[in-house]
Amino acid sequence: MTDGKNKLRIGFIPLADAAALIIAVDKGFTKEEGLDIELVREVSWSNMRDKLNIGLFDAAHLLAPIAIASSLGLGHVRVPIVAPFNLGLNGNAITVTNDLYKALADHAHGDLADPKVSARSLADVVAERRRKGREPLNFGMTFPFSTHNYQLRFWMASGGVDPDQDLRMVVLPPPYMVESISSGHVDAFCVGAPWNSVAVDLGIAHILHFVSEILQRATEKVLAVRASWAKENPDTLRRLIRAHGNAADFIEDVKNREETCAILSAPNRIDVAAEVIRRTLDGKLKVSPDGTYRTSERYLMVGRIGAARPDPVQAAWLYAQMVRWGHAPLSNEFLAISKAVFRTDLYDAVLGKGSPLPASEPADGVGAFVGPAFDPNDIRAHLSLWKIRRW
Protein backbone atom coordinates (compact mmCIF):
# COMPACT_ATOMS: atom_id res chain seq x y z
CA MET A 1 0.00 0.00 0.00
CA THR A 2 2.65 2.53 0.91
CA ASP A 3 5.47 1.39 -1.34
CA GLY A 4 7.31 4.04 -3.25
CA LYS A 5 7.50 7.77 -2.82
CA ASN A 6 5.28 9.17 -0.08
CA LYS A 7 6.47 12.73 0.46
CA LEU A 8 5.37 15.06 -2.34
CA ARG A 9 5.55 18.77 -3.06
CA ILE A 10 2.67 20.03 -5.18
CA GLY A 11 2.23 23.57 -6.49
CA PHE A 12 -1.08 25.39 -6.78
CA ILE A 13 -2.35 28.83 -7.76
CA PRO A 14 -5.03 30.27 -5.48
CA LEU A 15 -8.07 29.67 -7.71
CA ALA A 16 -11.34 27.86 -7.08
CA ASP A 17 -10.43 25.19 -9.63
CA ALA A 18 -7.63 23.97 -7.36
CA ALA A 19 -10.47 22.64 -5.19
CA ALA A 20 -9.93 18.91 -5.78
CA LEU A 21 -6.21 19.20 -4.99
CA ILE A 22 -6.69 21.34 -1.88
CA ILE A 23 -9.52 19.17 -0.52
CA ALA A 24 -7.55 15.99 -1.29
CA VAL A 25 -4.79 17.25 0.98
CA ASP A 26 -6.59 19.32 3.63
CA LYS A 27 -9.50 16.94 4.14
CA GLY A 28 -7.07 14.04 4.58
CA PHE A 29 -7.77 11.99 1.43
CA THR A 30 -4.07 11.93 0.54
CA LYS A 31 -3.18 10.98 4.11
CA GLU A 32 -5.57 8.02 3.85
CA GLU A 33 -3.42 6.93 0.91
CA GLY A 34 -0.25 7.20 2.98
CA LEU A 35 0.86 10.36 1.20
CA ASP A 36 2.47 13.28 2.98
CA ILE A 37 1.91 16.33 0.77
CA GLU A 38 3.25 19.82 1.04
CA LEU A 39 1.08 22.25 -0.93
CA VAL A 40 3.06 25.22 -2.22
CA ARG A 41 1.24 28.37 -3.29
CA GLU A 42 2.70 29.81 -6.48
CA VAL A 43 2.45 33.30 -7.94
CA SER A 44 2.79 32.61 -11.65
CA TRP A 45 2.17 29.87 -14.21
CA SER A 46 5.72 30.35 -15.49
CA ASN A 47 7.09 29.43 -12.07
CA MET A 48 4.72 26.48 -11.88
CA ARG A 49 5.83 25.16 -15.27
CA ASP A 50 9.54 25.61 -14.52
CA LYS A 51 9.36 24.10 -11.04
CA LEU A 52 7.43 21.10 -12.33
CA ASN A 53 9.77 20.72 -15.30
CA ILE A 54 12.99 20.72 -13.33
CA GLY A 55 11.62 18.54 -10.53
CA LEU A 56 11.14 21.00 -7.68
CA PHE A 57 7.49 19.97 -7.72
CA ASP A 58 6.30 16.37 -7.97
CA ALA A 59 2.95 17.50 -9.33
CA ALA A 60 1.15 20.72 -10.17
CA HIS A 61 -2.24 22.37 -10.58
CA LEU A 62 -1.64 23.37 -14.18
CA LEU A 63 -3.43 25.07 -17.05
CA ALA A 64 -4.27 22.31 -19.54
CA PRO A 65 -2.68 24.16 -22.51
CA ILE A 66 0.62 24.48 -20.60
CA ALA A 67 0.73 20.71 -20.12
CA ILE A 68 0.34 20.36 -23.90
CA ALA A 69 2.76 23.18 -24.80
CA SER A 70 5.38 21.75 -22.46
CA SER A 71 4.99 18.29 -24.00
CA LEU A 72 5.38 19.79 -27.47
CA GLY A 73 8.27 22.06 -26.47
CA LEU A 74 6.50 25.21 -27.67
CA GLY A 75 8.46 28.35 -26.80
CA HIS A 76 10.42 26.47 -24.16
CA VAL A 77 12.31 23.31 -23.47
CA ARG A 78 10.35 20.17 -24.20
CA VAL A 79 9.36 18.28 -21.07
CA PRO A 80 6.72 15.58 -21.59
CA ILE A 81 3.89 16.04 -19.10
CA VAL A 82 0.99 13.72 -18.33
CA ALA A 83 -2.39 14.62 -16.89
CA PRO A 84 -3.96 11.60 -15.15
CA PHE A 85 -6.73 13.60 -13.47
CA ASN A 86 -8.75 16.54 -14.69
CA LEU A 87 -9.19 19.10 -11.92
CA GLY A 88 -12.39 20.31 -13.53
CA LEU A 89 -14.39 21.41 -16.53
CA ASN A 90 -15.32 25.05 -17.19
CA GLY A 91 -15.22 27.61 -14.38
CA ASN A 92 -14.06 30.67 -16.33
CA ALA A 93 -16.13 33.71 -17.16
CA ILE A 94 -15.79 36.72 -19.44
CA THR A 95 -16.17 39.97 -17.54
CA VAL A 96 -16.45 43.41 -19.12
CA THR A 97 -16.37 46.96 -17.73
CA ASN A 98 -19.69 48.70 -17.20
CA ASP A 99 -18.86 50.96 -20.16
CA LEU A 100 -18.15 48.10 -22.54
CA TYR A 101 -21.24 46.29 -21.30
CA LYS A 102 -23.36 49.28 -22.15
CA ALA A 103 -21.78 49.62 -25.59
CA LEU A 104 -22.37 45.92 -26.27
CA ALA A 105 -25.99 46.21 -25.13
CA ASP A 106 -26.50 49.25 -27.38
CA HIS A 107 -25.22 47.30 -30.40
CA ALA A 108 -26.88 43.99 -29.61
CA HIS A 109 -29.35 42.47 -32.04
CA GLY A 110 -31.03 40.06 -29.67
CA ASP A 111 -30.26 38.77 -26.20
CA LEU A 112 -26.75 39.72 -25.10
CA ALA A 113 -26.62 36.57 -22.97
CA ASP A 114 -26.40 34.64 -26.26
CA PRO A 115 -22.68 34.43 -27.18
CA LYS A 116 -23.50 34.63 -30.90
CA VAL A 117 -25.24 37.94 -30.31
CA SER A 118 -22.52 39.29 -28.00
CA ALA A 119 -19.69 38.36 -30.40
CA ARG A 120 -21.39 40.18 -33.30
CA SER A 121 -22.09 43.12 -31.04
CA LEU A 122 -18.40 43.20 -30.08
CA ALA A 123 -17.52 43.37 -33.79
CA ASP A 124 -19.80 46.42 -34.14
CA VAL A 125 -18.26 48.10 -31.10
CA VAL A 126 -14.76 47.45 -32.48
CA ALA A 127 -15.74 48.91 -35.87
CA GLU A 128 -17.29 51.98 -34.28
CA ARG A 129 -14.21 52.64 -32.15
CA ARG A 130 -12.05 52.40 -35.24
CA ARG A 131 -14.26 54.86 -37.13
CA LYS A 132 -13.99 57.28 -34.25
CA GLY A 133 -10.21 56.84 -34.10
CA ARG A 134 -10.28 55.45 -30.58
CA GLU A 135 -7.69 53.06 -29.12
CA PRO A 136 -8.37 49.35 -29.64
CA LEU A 137 -9.99 47.50 -26.75
CA ASN A 138 -7.73 45.57 -24.34
CA PHE A 139 -8.74 42.05 -23.32
CA GLY A 140 -6.97 40.48 -20.34
CA MET A 141 -6.24 36.79 -20.04
CA THR A 142 -4.04 34.81 -17.70
CA PHE A 143 -1.30 33.26 -19.79
CA PRO A 144 -0.32 32.90 -23.46
CA PHE A 145 -0.95 29.14 -23.37
CA SER A 146 -4.20 29.37 -21.46
CA THR A 147 -7.76 28.19 -21.85
CA HIS A 148 -8.75 31.83 -21.28
CA ASN A 149 -6.78 33.00 -24.30
CA TYR A 150 -8.28 30.33 -26.57
CA GLN A 151 -11.82 30.65 -25.23
CA LEU A 152 -11.82 34.43 -25.73
CA ARG A 153 -10.43 34.04 -29.24
CA PHE A 154 -12.91 31.34 -30.19
CA TRP A 155 -15.84 33.44 -29.00
CA MET A 156 -14.88 36.82 -30.49
CA ALA A 157 -13.69 35.43 -33.82
CA SER A 158 -17.11 33.85 -34.34
CA GLY A 159 -18.54 37.37 -34.48
CA GLY A 160 -15.88 38.58 -36.92
CA VAL A 161 -13.39 40.05 -34.44
CA ASP A 162 -9.76 39.25 -35.17
CA PRO A 163 -8.04 38.96 -31.77
CA ASP A 164 -4.62 39.82 -33.22
CA GLN A 165 -5.72 42.72 -35.44
CA ASP A 166 -8.84 44.29 -33.99
CA LEU A 167 -7.95 44.48 -30.34
CA ARG A 168 -5.13 43.75 -27.90
CA MET A 169 -4.93 40.54 -25.95
CA VAL A 170 -2.83 41.15 -22.84
CA VAL A 171 -1.62 38.71 -20.23
CA LEU A 172 -2.54 39.72 -16.70
CA PRO A 173 -1.88 37.72 -13.57
CA PRO A 174 -5.30 36.91 -12.01
CA PRO A 175 -4.70 38.95 -8.83
CA TYR A 176 -4.10 42.03 -11.03
CA MET A 177 -7.24 41.59 -13.16
CA VAL A 178 -9.58 43.54 -10.94
CA GLU A 179 -7.29 46.52 -10.43
CA SER A 180 -6.62 46.57 -14.19
CA ILE A 181 -10.30 46.78 -14.99
CA SER A 182 -10.88 49.43 -12.36
CA SER A 183 -7.95 51.55 -13.62
CA GLY A 184 -9.19 51.23 -17.20
CA HIS A 185 -6.06 49.34 -18.25
CA VAL A 186 -8.27 46.60 -19.69
CA ASP A 187 -11.86 46.68 -20.94
CA ALA A 188 -12.58 43.02 -20.36
CA PHE A 189 -10.99 39.83 -19.10
CA CYS A 190 -11.44 36.12 -19.04
CA VAL A 191 -10.40 34.49 -15.79
CA GLY A 192 -11.44 31.81 -13.32
CA ALA A 193 -13.13 32.20 -9.97
CA PRO A 194 -13.14 34.16 -7.78
CA TRP A 195 -11.93 37.17 -9.78
CA ASN A 196 -15.03 37.76 -11.93
CA SER A 197 -17.20 37.89 -8.83
CA VAL A 198 -14.78 40.21 -7.07
CA ALA A 199 -15.03 42.73 -9.95
CA VAL A 200 -18.85 42.52 -10.04
CA ASP A 201 -19.06 42.94 -6.26
CA LEU A 202 -17.01 46.13 -6.55
CA GLY A 203 -19.65 47.46 -8.92
CA ILE A 204 -17.17 48.05 -11.74
CA ALA A 205 -18.00 45.24 -14.17
CA HIS A 206 -20.53 42.78 -15.57
CA ILE A 207 -20.05 39.09 -16.14
CA LEU A 208 -20.93 38.78 -19.83
CA HIS A 209 -20.60 35.02 -20.22
CA PHE A 210 -19.82 31.91 -18.32
CA VAL A 211 -17.40 30.00 -20.53
CA SER A 212 -19.77 27.04 -20.24
CA GLU A 213 -22.06 29.06 -22.53
CA ILE A 214 -19.33 29.04 -25.18
CA LEU A 215 -18.09 25.49 -24.72
CA GLN A 216 -20.23 23.04 -22.78
CA ARG A 217 -17.23 20.95 -21.80
CA ALA A 218 -13.87 22.69 -21.53
CA THR A 219 -10.98 21.20 -19.62
CA GLU A 220 -9.53 23.88 -17.40
CA LYS A 221 -6.76 22.81 -15.01
CA VAL A 222 -5.24 19.39 -14.79
CA LEU A 223 -3.26 17.56 -12.17
CA ALA A 224 0.05 17.40 -14.00
CA VAL A 225 3.16 15.31 -13.43
CA ARG A 226 6.25 14.75 -15.56
CA ALA A 227 5.87 11.70 -17.79
CA SER A 228 9.16 10.38 -16.37
CA TRP A 229 7.86 10.85 -12.82
CA ALA A 230 4.68 8.93 -13.66
CA LYS A 231 6.81 6.08 -14.98
CA GLU A 232 9.08 6.02 -11.93
CA ASN A 233 6.31 6.32 -9.34
CA PRO A 234 3.34 4.29 -10.61
CA ASP A 235 2.09 3.31 -7.17
CA THR A 236 2.38 6.82 -5.74
CA LEU A 237 0.54 8.15 -8.76
CA ARG A 238 -2.28 5.63 -8.30
CA ARG A 239 -2.70 6.72 -4.71
CA LEU A 240 -2.64 10.38 -5.73
CA ILE A 241 -5.36 9.76 -8.33
CA ARG A 242 -7.51 7.86 -5.83
CA ALA A 243 -7.21 10.70 -3.29
CA HIS A 244 -8.28 13.17 -5.95
CA GLY A 245 -11.23 11.02 -6.95
CA ASN A 246 -12.39 10.92 -3.34
CA ALA A 247 -11.89 14.67 -3.02
CA ALA A 248 -13.91 15.40 -6.17
CA ASP A 249 -16.76 13.20 -4.87
CA PHE A 250 -16.63 15.02 -1.54
CA ILE A 251 -16.79 18.43 -3.23
CA GLU A 252 -19.68 17.49 -5.50
CA ASP A 253 -21.80 16.29 -2.55
CA VAL A 254 -23.82 19.41 -1.70
CA LYS A 255 -23.98 18.31 1.96
CA ASN A 256 -20.26 19.08 2.19
CA ARG A 257 -20.45 22.46 0.46
CA GLU A 258 -20.07 24.56 3.58
CA GLU A 259 -17.07 22.61 4.86
CA THR A 260 -15.50 22.59 1.39
CA CYS A 261 -15.78 26.36 1.05
CA ALA A 262 -14.44 26.92 4.56
CA ILE A 263 -11.34 24.80 3.78
CA LEU A 264 -10.75 26.48 0.42
CA SER A 265 -11.13 30.00 1.79
CA ALA A 266 -8.26 29.64 4.30
CA PRO A 267 -5.58 32.37 4.16
CA ASN A 268 -2.90 29.92 3.01
CA ARG A 269 -5.19 28.48 0.31
CA ILE A 270 -7.45 30.60 -1.92
CA ASP A 271 -7.82 33.37 0.66
CA VAL A 272 -11.17 34.88 -0.31
CA ALA A 273 -14.53 34.82 1.49
CA ALA A 274 -16.08 31.34 1.64
CA GLU A 275 -19.30 32.82 0.28
CA VAL A 276 -17.60 33.90 -2.96
CA ILE A 277 -16.18 30.40 -3.48
CA ARG A 278 -19.61 28.99 -2.72
CA ARG A 279 -21.14 30.96 -5.63
CA THR A 280 -18.64 29.26 -7.95
CA LEU A 281 -19.34 25.75 -6.73
CA ASP A 282 -23.10 26.36 -6.68
CA GLY A 283 -22.93 27.86 -10.18
CA LYS A 284 -24.94 30.84 -8.99
CA LEU A 285 -23.10 34.05 -9.77
CA LYS A 286 -23.94 37.69 -9.37
CA VAL A 287 -23.42 38.92 -12.94
CA SER A 288 -24.31 42.58 -12.60
CA PRO A 289 -23.62 45.26 -10.00
CA ASP A 290 -27.42 45.71 -9.76
CA GLY A 291 -27.58 42.30 -8.07
CA THR A 292 -28.83 40.16 -10.97
CA TYR A 293 -27.82 36.52 -10.61
CA ARG A 294 -27.29 33.93 -13.30
CA THR A 295 -27.25 30.22 -12.55
CA SER A 296 -25.76 27.35 -14.48
CA GLU A 297 -25.52 23.64 -13.87
CA ARG A 298 -22.25 23.68 -15.76
CA TYR A 299 -20.34 26.60 -14.27
CA LEU A 300 -17.52 24.68 -12.60
CA MET A 301 -17.78 20.91 -12.75
CA VAL A 302 -15.25 19.30 -10.44
CA GLY A 303 -16.17 15.63 -10.69
CA ARG A 304 -19.73 15.27 -11.85
CA ILE A 305 -20.73 14.01 -15.31
CA GLY A 306 -17.28 12.64 -16.00
CA ALA A 307 -15.60 16.00 -15.43
CA ALA A 308 -12.52 14.55 -13.74
CA ARG A 309 -11.78 11.95 -16.41
CA PRO A 310 -9.07 13.18 -18.81
CA ASP A 311 -10.47 13.32 -22.34
CA PRO A 312 -8.04 13.36 -25.30
CA VAL A 313 -10.75 15.14 -27.33
CA GLN A 314 -10.18 18.14 -25.08
CA ALA A 315 -6.43 18.00 -25.73
CA ALA A 316 -7.08 17.84 -29.47
CA TRP A 317 -9.41 20.86 -29.29
CA LEU A 318 -6.82 22.91 -27.40
CA TYR A 319 -4.06 21.87 -29.80
CA ALA A 320 -6.32 22.87 -32.72
CA GLN A 321 -6.67 26.35 -31.20
CA MET A 322 -2.89 26.64 -30.87
CA VAL A 323 -2.57 25.82 -34.57
CA ARG A 324 -5.41 28.17 -35.52
CA TRP A 325 -3.70 31.15 -33.87
CA GLY A 326 -0.22 30.37 -35.08
CA HIS A 327 1.05 29.19 -31.69
CA ALA A 328 1.89 25.68 -32.92
CA PRO A 329 2.60 24.04 -36.27
CA LEU A 330 0.08 21.53 -37.61
CA SER A 331 1.29 17.95 -37.69
CA ASN A 332 -0.13 14.52 -37.02
CA GLU A 333 2.75 13.87 -34.67
CA PHE A 334 1.97 16.95 -32.57
CA LEU A 335 -1.72 16.04 -32.50
CA ALA A 336 -0.86 12.55 -31.26
CA ILE A 337 1.51 13.91 -28.59
CA SER A 338 -1.15 16.39 -27.42
CA LYS A 339 -3.81 13.72 -27.07
CA ALA A 340 -1.43 11.43 -25.21
CA VAL A 341 -0.95 14.06 -22.48
CA PHE A 342 -4.47 13.31 -21.23
CA ARG A 343 -4.10 9.87 -19.71
CA THR A 344 -7.57 8.36 -19.54
CA ASP A 345 -5.94 4.95 -19.00
CA LEU A 346 -4.21 6.00 -15.75
CA TYR A 347 -7.46 7.47 -14.46
CA ASP A 348 -9.56 4.44 -15.43
CA ALA A 349 -7.13 1.99 -13.86
CA VAL A 350 -7.80 3.56 -10.45
CA LEU A 351 -11.27 5.09 -10.61
CA GLY A 352 -12.93 3.14 -13.43
CA LYS A 353 -14.60 4.45 -16.54
CA GLY A 354 -17.68 5.67 -14.66
CA SER A 355 -21.18 5.50 -16.09
CA PRO A 356 -21.69 6.58 -19.70
CA LEU A 357 -22.40 10.30 -20.07
CA PRO A 358 -26.08 11.24 -20.26
CA ALA A 359 -27.52 12.00 -23.70
CA SER A 360 -27.78 15.67 -22.72
CA GLU A 361 -23.98 15.94 -22.92
CA PRO A 362 -22.52 17.11 -26.24
CA ALA A 363 -21.85 14.16 -28.55
CA ASP A 364 -18.47 15.52 -29.67
CA GLY A 365 -17.29 16.02 -26.08
CA VAL A 366 -16.89 19.78 -26.52
CA GLY A 367 -20.26 21.31 -27.39
CA ALA A 368 -19.12 24.61 -28.91
CA PHE A 369 -21.78 27.30 -29.37
CA VAL A 370 -20.98 27.63 -33.09
CA GLY A 371 -19.73 25.36 -35.83
CA PRO A 372 -20.23 21.68 -36.58
CA ALA A 373 -19.22 18.88 -34.24
CA PHE A 374 -15.50 18.79 -33.43
CA ASP A 375 -13.62 15.84 -34.89
CA PRO A 376 -10.42 15.23 -32.88
CA ASN A 377 -8.99 13.17 -35.74
CA ASP A 378 -9.45 15.86 -38.35
CA ILE A 379 -7.97 19.11 -37.06
CA ARG A 380 -7.59 20.37 -40.61
CA ALA A 381 -11.35 20.25 -41.15
CA HIS A 382 -11.94 22.16 -37.93
CA LEU A 383 -9.40 24.82 -38.91
CA SER A 384 -10.74 25.21 -42.44
CA LEU A 385 -14.11 26.23 -41.02
CA TRP A 386 -12.91 29.57 -39.75
CA LYS A 387 -12.17 32.66 -41.80
CA ILE A 388 -10.21 34.37 -39.04
CA ARG A 389 -7.10 32.33 -38.35
CA ARG A 390 -3.30 32.52 -38.47
CA TRP A 391 -2.92 29.06 -39.98
Partner: protein
Amino acid sequence: MLPDSHLKIVIVDESPIRAAILEDGLREAGHVQVIRIEDRTNLLARVYAIDPDVILIDLENPSRDVLEQMFQVSRVVKRPVAMFVDQSDTASIQAAIDAGVSAYIVDGLKKERIKHILDMSIMRFNAFSRLEGELEQTKLALEDRKVIDRAKGILMKVKNLTEEEAYALMRKTAMNEKKKIAEIAQSIITAAEMLK
Protein backbone atom coordinates in the same frame (compact mmCIF):
# COMPACT_ATOMS: atom_id res chain seq x y z
CA MET B 1 28.45 42.50 -32.35
CA LEU B 2 27.90 44.80 -29.39
CA PRO B 3 30.51 44.71 -26.66
CA ASP B 4 29.04 43.06 -23.54
CA SER B 5 29.13 46.32 -21.62
CA HIS B 6 26.58 47.67 -24.08
CA LEU B 7 24.00 44.95 -23.64
CA LYS B 8 20.72 46.55 -22.67
CA ILE B 9 19.57 44.99 -19.40
CA VAL B 10 16.11 45.44 -17.92
CA ILE B 11 15.41 44.62 -14.27
CA VAL B 12 11.77 43.91 -13.39
CA ASP B 13 11.50 43.78 -9.62
CA GLU B 14 8.83 45.10 -7.30
CA SER B 15 11.41 45.43 -4.53
CA PRO B 16 13.17 48.75 -5.23
CA ILE B 17 15.98 47.98 -2.78
CA ARG B 18 16.81 44.63 -4.34
CA ALA B 19 16.61 46.13 -7.83
CA ALA B 20 19.03 48.87 -6.78
CA ILE B 21 21.44 46.32 -5.30
CA LEU B 22 21.38 44.37 -8.56
CA GLU B 23 21.75 47.48 -10.69
CA ASP B 24 24.79 48.57 -8.66
CA GLY B 25 26.37 45.19 -9.21
CA LEU B 26 25.80 45.31 -12.95
CA ARG B 27 27.16 48.84 -13.22
CA GLU B 28 30.23 47.89 -11.19
CA ALA B 29 30.76 45.06 -13.66
CA GLY B 30 30.84 47.65 -16.41
CA HIS B 31 27.30 47.50 -17.78
CA VAL B 32 26.17 50.95 -18.74
CA GLN B 33 22.66 50.27 -20.00
CA VAL B 34 20.67 49.04 -17.02
CA ILE B 35 17.00 50.03 -16.76
CA ARG B 36 14.77 49.27 -13.81
CA ILE B 37 11.00 48.80 -14.14
CA GLU B 38 9.20 48.85 -10.82
CA ASP B 39 5.68 49.76 -11.92
CA ARG B 40 3.76 46.86 -13.42
CA THR B 41 1.32 48.89 -15.55
CA ASN B 42 1.77 48.29 -19.27
CA LEU B 43 4.81 46.17 -18.52
CA LEU B 44 5.00 44.47 -21.91
CA ALA B 45 4.67 47.73 -23.85
CA ARG B 46 7.48 49.24 -21.80
CA VAL B 47 9.69 46.24 -22.34
CA TYR B 48 9.06 46.45 -26.10
CA ALA B 49 9.84 50.17 -26.07
CA ILE B 50 13.16 49.57 -24.32
CA ASP B 51 13.92 46.60 -26.57
CA PRO B 52 16.35 44.94 -24.14
CA ASP B 53 18.90 42.20 -24.77
CA VAL B 54 18.47 40.73 -21.31
CA ILE B 55 15.57 40.82 -18.85
CA LEU B 56 15.98 39.89 -15.21
CA ILE B 57 12.85 39.31 -13.13
CA ASP B 58 12.27 38.14 -9.57
CA LEU B 59 10.44 34.84 -9.27
CA GLU B 60 7.96 36.13 -6.70
CA ASN B 61 6.68 38.54 -9.32
CA PRO B 62 3.38 37.45 -10.92
CA SER B 63 4.32 39.67 -13.88
CA ARG B 64 6.58 36.89 -15.10
CA ASP B 65 3.53 35.54 -16.90
CA VAL B 66 3.18 38.88 -18.70
CA LEU B 67 6.69 38.52 -20.10
CA GLU B 68 5.88 35.03 -21.35
CA GLN B 69 3.66 36.66 -23.98
CA MET B 70 6.87 37.59 -25.79
CA PHE B 71 7.18 33.96 -26.83
CA GLN B 72 3.96 33.80 -28.76
CA VAL B 73 3.85 35.12 -32.27
CA SER B 74 2.29 38.53 -32.17
CA ARG B 75 2.38 41.63 -34.30
CA VAL B 76 3.92 43.69 -31.48
CA VAL B 77 6.94 41.47 -30.98
CA LYS B 78 10.04 43.20 -32.24
CA ARG B 79 12.52 40.51 -31.41
CA PRO B 80 11.95 36.98 -30.23
CA VAL B 81 13.22 36.32 -26.75
CA ALA B 82 14.19 33.00 -25.24
CA MET B 83 14.49 31.94 -21.68
CA PHE B 84 18.04 31.63 -20.52
CA VAL B 85 17.66 28.67 -18.25
CA ASP B 86 17.34 25.42 -20.12
CA GLN B 87 17.99 21.78 -19.50
CA SER B 88 21.62 22.03 -20.53
CA ASP B 89 22.53 23.87 -17.37
CA THR B 90 20.68 22.35 -14.43
CA ALA B 91 23.05 23.78 -11.82
CA SER B 92 22.39 27.31 -13.05
CA ILE B 93 18.66 26.76 -13.07
CA GLN B 94 18.71 25.40 -9.54
CA ALA B 95 20.86 28.28 -8.29
CA ALA B 96 18.63 30.85 -10.01
CA ILE B 97 15.44 29.37 -8.62
CA ASP B 98 16.90 29.09 -5.13
CA ALA B 99 17.93 32.73 -5.30
CA GLY B 100 14.53 33.67 -6.72
CA VAL B 101 15.53 35.21 -10.02
CA SER B 102 14.84 34.36 -13.63
CA ALA B 103 16.34 35.65 -16.86
CA TYR B 104 15.25 36.06 -20.47
CA ILE B 105 17.56 36.86 -23.35
CA VAL B 106 17.20 37.87 -26.92
CA ASP B 107 17.24 34.88 -29.20
CA GLY B 108 20.63 34.41 -30.80
CA LEU B 109 22.58 35.96 -27.95
CA LYS B 110 25.17 33.41 -26.84
CA LYS B 111 24.49 32.13 -23.36
CA GLU B 112 28.16 32.41 -22.40
CA ARG B 113 27.96 36.15 -22.96
CA ILE B 114 25.38 36.61 -20.25
CA LYS B 115 26.48 33.86 -17.87
CA HIS B 116 28.22 36.41 -15.65
CA ILE B 117 25.07 38.55 -15.63
CA LEU B 118 22.99 35.67 -14.33
CA ASP B 119 25.70 34.72 -11.81
CA MET B 120 25.80 38.31 -10.62
CA SER B 121 21.99 38.37 -10.26
CA ILE B 122 22.04 35.17 -8.24
CA MET B 123 24.75 36.56 -5.96
CA ARG B 124 23.00 39.87 -5.43
CA PHE B 125 19.62 38.23 -4.83
CA ASN B 126 21.19 35.93 -2.25
CA ALA B 127 22.94 38.88 -0.63
CA PHE B 128 19.62 40.67 -0.45
CA SER B 129 17.85 37.79 1.28
CA ARG B 130 20.76 37.49 3.73
CA LEU B 131 20.39 41.19 4.49
CA GLU B 132 16.67 40.73 4.97
CA GLY B 133 17.30 37.77 7.25
CA GLU B 134 19.78 39.74 9.35
CA LEU B 135 17.39 42.65 9.58
CA GLU B 136 14.68 40.28 10.79
CA GLN B 137 17.08 38.84 13.38
CA THR B 138 18.00 42.31 14.60
CA LYS B 139 14.34 43.24 14.90
CA LEU B 140 13.65 40.09 16.88
CA ALA B 141 16.61 40.71 19.15
CA LEU B 142 15.40 44.25 19.77
CA GLU B 143 11.95 42.94 20.56
CA ASP B 144 13.42 40.38 23.01
CA ARG B 145 15.48 43.09 24.66
CA LYS B 146 12.35 45.17 25.32
CA VAL B 147 10.50 42.21 26.85
CA ILE B 148 13.47 41.32 29.05
CA ASP B 149 13.81 44.90 30.27
CA ARG B 150 10.13 45.04 31.22
CA ALA B 151 10.29 41.74 33.07
CA LYS B 152 13.44 42.89 34.86
CA GLY B 153 11.59 45.98 36.04
CA ILE B 154 8.73 43.88 37.38
CA LEU B 155 11.09 41.56 39.29
CA MET B 156 13.05 44.48 40.71
CA LYS B 157 9.85 46.03 42.01
CA VAL B 158 8.05 42.94 43.26
CA LYS B 159 11.05 41.08 44.71
CA ASN B 160 13.06 44.14 45.58
CA LEU B 161 16.10 43.04 43.55
CA THR B 162 18.88 44.95 41.86
CA GLU B 163 18.99 44.95 38.09
CA GLU B 164 21.80 42.37 38.03
CA GLU B 165 19.97 40.10 40.47
CA ALA B 166 16.76 40.30 38.45
CA TYR B 167 18.58 39.35 35.28
CA ALA B 168 20.50 36.55 36.99
CA LEU B 169 17.24 35.11 38.33
CA MET B 170 15.67 35.06 34.89
CA ARG B 171 18.77 33.51 33.37
CA LYS B 172 18.89 30.79 36.01
CA THR B 173 15.18 30.01 35.56
CA ALA B 174 15.62 29.92 31.80
CA MET B 175 18.49 27.46 32.11
CA ASN B 176 16.58 25.26 34.55
CA GLU B 177 13.52 25.16 32.32
CA LYS B 178 15.53 24.91 29.09
CA LYS B 179 13.85 28.00 27.70
CA LYS B 180 15.01 31.30 26.28
CA ILE B 181 15.33 34.25 28.65
CA ALA B 182 12.85 36.14 26.46
CA GLU B 183 10.27 33.39 26.99
CA ILE B 184 10.71 33.51 30.76
CA ALA B 185 10.48 37.29 30.60
CA GLN B 186 7.24 37.03 28.63
CA SER B 187 5.77 34.67 31.26
CA ILE B 188 6.67 37.14 34.00
CA ILE B 189 4.94 39.94 32.11
CA THR B 190 1.87 37.78 31.46
CA ALA B 191 1.70 36.71 35.10
CA ALA B 192 2.09 40.30 36.30
CA GLU B 193 -0.74 41.40 34.00
CA MET B 194 -3.00 38.67 35.39
CA LEU B 195 -2.20 39.53 38.97
CA LYS B 196 -2.89 43.22 38.50
